[in-house]
């Protein structure tokens, strides 16, 4: 299928502006030509289709500048990305002279921008469209067949007596609030046990990150505006995230939306819990008799460089045999759960998770521990196939701290259908 040539008058110059913004960054990749990104890309490893490579994502912009391609020609290719950031790390331009020239290859931003251009140009992916519409409608992502609604957004915390508002807020991701509530209950009770004062939001809406990742910038901004207003209404200063995707939204997207007036300290739970254990505020006494390895969530390790604190926590759990690999080898690993991929291309997500579990199996472990609730659904499905239990780090920490957090950790199953 071939789209007609680009007519700049037809889209109000949208594509022209996009090319103008990204052309030199794209040339930085195009002209390097190394393609070292390709074999670490989790999607490319599965599809082996050069259209889905980070180099293609940049080269397309050069071709658009020449008038050879339009957004319609390439929109589907850009669906094939989990926004894990491995390509950026592996790029020689980033690795060797990036610091000096303040240059970082920004493929994730390019993918988000191209997806946004597609949406603005009226080229929408049907499942993403429905997903974002349902999110705006219910204010939370349509993660499951359980009622996803404002009335239920804090139901996971029943019986915990958590206050509303305060200086420190625990932001509970949609998947953790509705699907894998054992993660949110474990986290909340650990913080209570350690004496951390915190509250929940008056009205928590989706962080907006997934909408932004799928190219729906207006929807993302609408959700972000609400959340920041909610935080400000009781003078919140510090936001604790338990999901790495939220951590990205609050430390990257929100900063762009609200700067220079963005006053919040954003803390990821693994950093905080490692500190609480180090300071003696949390004592892990109950042995966990498991042989585990750790899945570095892409948004923690590859995108934020957070790989030490989860390992520190695992090593503090008595009874646990932790078979670690370095944090660089897993640059090429992923669950496939990010960037909206499981919503449009669930079969690719499933295969990426399958390969991740196969790596774990080589280490002869019985459990794969993650620290990203979005990764845990596809990983658990693959784990069921391969006889490996998939647990969240906070679930194990809570157990070792002697807590009985209850909550469900959602039965592994196929990604849920998006309501039509």
């Amino acid at each position: 299928m071939t789209a007609p040539p680009y007519d700049p008058t037809a889209d109000g110059g949208l594509q022209e502006q996009f090319v103008e913004q990204w052309r030199d960054a794209a040339y930085g990749c195009f002209s390097s030509g190394h393609k070292f990104c390709r074999e670490v890309c989790p999607v490319m490893q599965v599809t082996r289709n050069e259209n889905h490579t980070p180099t293609a994502f940049h080269a397309n912009i050069v071709a658009m500048e020449q008038g050879n391609l339009t957004v319609a020609d390439v929109a589907d290719d850009y669906v094939h990305c989990t926004q894990c950031g491995a390509c950026e790390l592996r790029c020689p331009n980033t690795l060797f002279t990036g610091d000096f020239y303040r240059n970082r290859t920004q493929t994730v931003k390019v993918v988000k921008a191209m997806r946004a251009l597609a949406v603005q140009s009226g080229i929408e992916q049907p499942n993403w469209k429905r997903w974002v519409e349902a999110t705006i409608d219910a204010k939370s992502e349509p993660v499951l067949d359980v009622p996803v609604s404002q009335e239920n957004v804090a139901r996971w915390s029943e019986g915990l007596g958590l206050p509303i508002g305060g200086e420190t807020i625990l932001f509970v991701d949609c998947e953790a609030a509705f699907y894998r509530t054992s993660v949110s209950r474990s986290t909340a009770q650990l913080l209570q046990l350690a004496g951390v004062d915190f509250g929940l939001m008056r009205e928590q809406w989706c962080c907006g990150g997934p909408a932004a990742e799928m190219g729906y910038t207006d929807a993302a901004r609408q959700l972000a505006d609400h959340n920041v207003a909610d935080w400000r209404s009781y003078g919140a200063k510090r936001i604790i995230t338990l999901d790495p995707h939220d951590y990205i939204s609050f430390t990257e997207d929100y900063v762009e939306y609200f700067r220079p007036d963005y006053e919040f300290e954003i803390v990821h739970i693994t950093e905080l819990v490692a500190e609480l254990i180090r300071d003696g505020a949390l004592t892990l006494t109950q042995p966990i008799e498991r042989v585990v390895t750790y899945h570095d969530p892409c948004r923690l390790n590859k995108r934020k460089g957070i790989h030490a604190s989860p390992r520190e926590i695992l090593r503090a759990i008595p009874g646990l045999e932790f078979r670690d690999v370095d944090h660089v080898t897993p640059w090429s690993y992923c669950s496939g759960g990010g960037g909206g991929l499981p919503i449009e291309k669930p079969e690719i997500t499933a295969e990426i998770s399958r390969r991740r579990l196969a790596r774990a199996k080589e280490l002869e472990v019985d459990t794969l521990v993650s620290a990203c609730v979005w990764s845990e659904r596809p990983l658990a499905a693959a784990g069921d196939e391969q006889g490996i239990d998939v647990r969240d780090l906070m679930e194990l920490v809570a157990e070792s701290a002697g807590l009985d957090p209850r909550g469900v950790h959602g039965a592994a199953g196929p990604q849920q259908e998006v309501p039509a």
Partner: protein, 507 residues
């Protein structure tokens, strides 16, 4: 006279029947992204080199059926592996079908007894070695593109390895392979027969005929590769010198050491040091009297490498070198795949920073000729840089070139930055002329115009008949015999002449 016809819908239907719908790509993005390779091509004329469609086969039988169909229909076929070549091997000059073999990336057999691994041609060496590590063996083909190039492309270009002095280069490390001929037959080639036999005197040595064929003689669909023990020890040493001449003399002394564990010796010239130091003090933060650098690396068992390292250090120092220290030696050698050409250092004469594309021109040059060739290449580059205003001399390397006997000739490279955004019909001929003059210097000094990239592109290709002499007539006869309809990567290597065509390589 062979002529090509546009691909008809019926052909597309037949391809879908062979491969399945999902493995026949006709979209524009798929085709544009199978056109370019890292080496600069006339990017301003990108649209002229776009293939008609792309297929993603999974088996040799599918490749064979595609080639048979193309041969019947007289459609050009261009195989594509990693598309990381520094030449135009994978660039479809005459449109047609690109056969992208990336999905043929299986490890089919690891034989730890007879020490081979059999793979599909779409596998990458880094990925292969990740799997082989658990058996404590490796496939030691180590080009600069180690993290991204694929075995099929290594065979297609007859690649060169950074540690080839110790372990050999691609031709030494690929024991045998399966290839689909231009008429669709699937054959196995080695030294003689025997998929795992390294040395034979049976018949013609067909492996060497097809090694470096640049897609003009068929499509490799499986390869049986050498396994070597993972080295117990790696030792790298970098030395600096007050002049290129001093470094060149030291390079000769190190290369002739006779140490079996010597992976290679690399000579960085004064231009390369100046380039690497542009703005960026991270690279070799040394005073101005550091003008040239030589790097060496040893691989093998501890019993071999420890005494060899002492000897290398002694030779390096006695031949005028000053050791650059453990940090630079081990660190820079470890980053050898990524380090030495970054577009971010690109500069115009005025000092303006522009996004420049890395082009690397290579040749095989005897040791005795290196200083003269170095001077001539820089002079040519300076002349065209001034004339075009879009070129930038990024310096030269010379690497030991021979497998196991790394002293007689050198893979010699000049890196040239090109501001591709400014390429046009006006300055493209200047660039081609620059390349051709560089290649001619190699011939004038008794060398070969390429050690590992291949010479299929304009500026090189027209000199292949000159370099090969009477051998080029043999090449044409072989090409015409194996590929009667000139469907395999037509237009490359001036081989169209075998069919009475006298077209320029680039239209």
């Amino acid at each position: 006279m062979t002529t090509f016809v546009a691909i008809r819908d019926t052909v597309v239907d037949k391809l879908r029947a062979i491969l399945g719908d999902e493995s026949v790509l006709t979209g524009k993005a798929a085709r544009y992204n199978r056109t370019r390779v890292p080496a600069p091509f006339p990017v301003h004329r990108w649209a002229e080199y776009v293939p008609d469609l792309v297929v993603l086969p999974r088996t040799a039988e599918q490749v064979s059926e595609v080639v048979k169909l193309a041969n019947r229909e007289r459609i050009p076929v261009v195989p594509r592996a990693g598309g990381t070549g520094l030449n135009d091997g994978a660039l479809p000059l005459k449109r047609g079908i690109v056969v992208d073999i990336k999905r043929m990336n299986q490890i089919k057999e690891v034989d730890l007894v007879d020490r081979t691994v059999t793979v599909g041609p779409g596998i990458n060496m880094l990925k292969l070695n990740e799997e082989l590590r658990k058996h404590n063996v490796m496939f030691p083909d180590d080009p600069a593109s180690y993290p991204c190039s694929l075995v099929g492309g290594r065979i297609g270009t007859s690649g060169w390895s950074l540690i080839g002095g110790r372990y050999g280069h691609t031709r030494d490390l690929v024991i045998s392979f399966q290839i689909v001929l231009p008429t669709g037959e699937i054959i196995e080639v080695g030294d003689g027969g025997g998929r795992k036999i390294r040395k034979s005197s049976s018949g013609f040595q067909l492996k060497h005929l097809f090694m470096g064929h640049q897609g003009t003689l068929g499509i490799v669909t499986e390869a049986t590769l050498e396994l070597v023990p993972r080295p117990e020890m790696e030792f790298a040493a970098f030395f600096h010198y007050p002049s290129y001449t001093a470094a060149w003399e030291s390079t000769g002394a190190l290369a002739k050491s006779g140490l079996a564990s010597l992976g290679g010796v690399v000579l960085f010239d004064e231009y390369k040091l100046r380039y690497l130091r542009r703005d960026d003090e991270a690279y070799i933060p040394r005073p101005d009297h550091v003008r040239a650098v030589v790097a060496t690396a040893l691989y093998g068992t501890r019993d071999e490498v420890e005494p060899a390292a002492r000897r290398i250090m002694r030779i390096g120092r006695e031949s005028g070198g000053t050791y650059l220290g453990d940090e630079i030696s081990s660190g820079d050698w470890a980053s050898r795949h990524d380090r030495y050409a970054t577009p971010l250092h690109g500069r115009l004469d005025t000092g303006e920073v522009v996004p420049m594309s890395w082009h690397c021109e290579d040749a095989s040059i005897n040791y005795s000729q290196l200083p003269a060739v170095m001077e001539k290449w820089h002079a040519i580059t300076a002349r065209y840089a001034e004339k075009t205003g879009i070129l930038d001399d990024w310096g030269m390397f010379a690497y030991t070139n021979g497998a196991y006997k790394p002293w007689g000739d050198y893979l010699t490279e000049i890196d040239i930055g090109i501001w591709e955004q400014q390429l046009s019909d006006d300055n493209w001929p200047d660039w081609v002329a620059c390349k051709r003059e560089i290649a001619q210097v190699a011939l004038d000094h008794g060398g070969s115009i390429t050690a590992c990239h291949g010479a299929t592109r304009e500026g090189d290709a027209e000199l292949i008949p000159v370099e090969m002499g009477g051998g080029f007539d043999v090449m044409m006869k072989i090409k015409a015999a194996l590929d009667p309809n000139n469907i395999m990567n037509p237009g490359k290597y001036e081989l169209d002449r075998a069919y009475g065509l006298d077209e320029k390589v680039f239209r």
